[in-house]
Symmetry: C2
Subunit: 271 residues, 2 copies
């Protein structure tokens, strides 16, 4: 099943726009866990078990695994999510971007090795950089307008009357989307820009990081980006959910935080 | 030693602008090698041993290791280069780009785990995305003008009278370079644009992929990008060198191809 079909299944099954970002940082692990790779996997799977019925997607961030020599744990985590929670969409947050045969190897990594339904990608290298992802049947979620202060450095540059991030949205909607299942990343901290992107990209899924610890307003973001059928958004929260408690009750606390986050979003209309 | 000091040492010691890109694809391995991770490491170390005195830098491309579950082999390869060839600069080609704590984990990956002197990075997320790299004392080589057909999709957009890639060069030279050791990536297929970037960035190192298999003209590129002291460039070739022969003599053939490539470039003046 392709990314878009899988995501529709996930929205329908969960009734939720929430995505939990899995950014396992041992420095923040709850007291019962030590810093080894087994703890890293256990931490993530307990969060997954505690929140899977509340989310449309899980989004592991590969940098946290790469810095800890824990690609094996990431493989096991991805297989666990795919096996146990087939209704949930698996997004590998890797922000990949390269060309030719190198892009082909990144596609094998994301869709073969880790079994993701979609991978986040950087648009700077243009259309041919994502062709191998489509050839593997995977989805591509392109960075468009990011929530960090430096996001303005290039993304807001005036490119022929429109800011660069709008040009990116146009490129993805007009040139990439006919060739494979696409989405875009727009930070929750910019609801006006999210509304602009929504107008450009029709019903393409938009991944919205930045609620919770990053301070974005979830309600303003969903109001700005929701589609007519009350779908279209993947609203991601990481730290505010996975580190909701630093004690024995970390999984229960993550569940409570995920319920609060889900309920703060526009409810999905049943199908 | 920081990236710029290391690179000057490498240019002076080798008298060469050549960089060998290590993109190990088992489908192209010479006949004596099978497809396992041991062969992958052996292939790369034999190429390294055969060419180390001819180059200023080695540039392993992480995607080829990631697709083959071979991060362990990449660790061993990087340690091998650092230990045996301390005069050579080690560039991790990973084109990373993320923000905040995620960027911090990518920095740990590149400079801690793999011990690179510099990492290639994507500029789309702006200045704060590379701060953690500088904080780790590592160099950042930002994508500027890439050699692929889709490079035009965004990089050539007119941003207030100058194409986006020139704006990137200005950002790196004016805002990033004062904070850490920077370089830029400009494909060999665009010597005019390489000349433009050189005018913008002063003596910052420019990594130039695309000679050899990608068809770029090495002499036109070096003429366009060389600095007054006959340095400033890292001219990278991968496939034309590492796959110069598919037989038992692959390392000797790589050495011969590397000599040809080195000698086709502007000679470095001795210090």
């Amino acid at each position: 099943m392709g990314f878009h079909d899988q995501l529709r299944r996930s929205w329908d099954a969960s009734g939720s726009l929430l995505c939990v970002g899995l950014d396992p940082d041992p420095a923040k692990f709850p007291a019962p866990l030590d810093h080894g790779n087994e703890s890293l996997l256990r931490f993530c799977t307990e969060i997954v078990d505690a929140t899977a019925d509340l989310v449309c997607a899980f989004k592991p961030q590969i940098a946290y695994f790469a810095s800890q020599r824990a690609e094996g744990a990431l493989e096991q985590l991805c297989a666990y999510i795919r096996d146990r929670y087939p209704d949930v969409t698996l997004i590998l947050d890797a922000k990949r971007g390269d060309i030719g045969s190198t892009a082909e190897h990144y596609a094998r990594e994301a869709f073969g090795r880790y079994g993701a339904h979609a991978v986040t990608a950087n648009p700077y290298l243009g259309g041919d950089s994502v062709e191998p992802f489509f050839a593997h049947g995977g989805g591509v979620i392109a960075l468009c307008r990011t929530s960090n202060p430096g996001g303005d450095d290039l993304q807001s540059l005036d490119c022929g009357g429109r800011p660069l991030y709008v040009r990116v949205a146009e490129m993805v909607a007009n040139e990439w989307a006919p060739r494979g299942d696409c989405g875009l990343v727009v930070g929750a901290t910019y609801p006006d820009e999210l509304r602009t992107v929504r107008e450009v990209v029709g019903d393409l899924p938009i991944l919205v990081p930045g609620i919770g610890a990053q301070g974005g307003d979830a309600q303003a973001a969903t109001a700005a980006g929701i589609t007519a059928d009350h779908r279209g958004l993947i609203i991601s929260s990481s730290r505010a959910i996975i580190y909701a408690s630093s004690g024995e009750d970390f999984a229960e606390a993550a569940r409570a935080a995920a319920i609060d986050a889900r309920d703060s979003l526009v409810p999905i209309t049943p199908r």
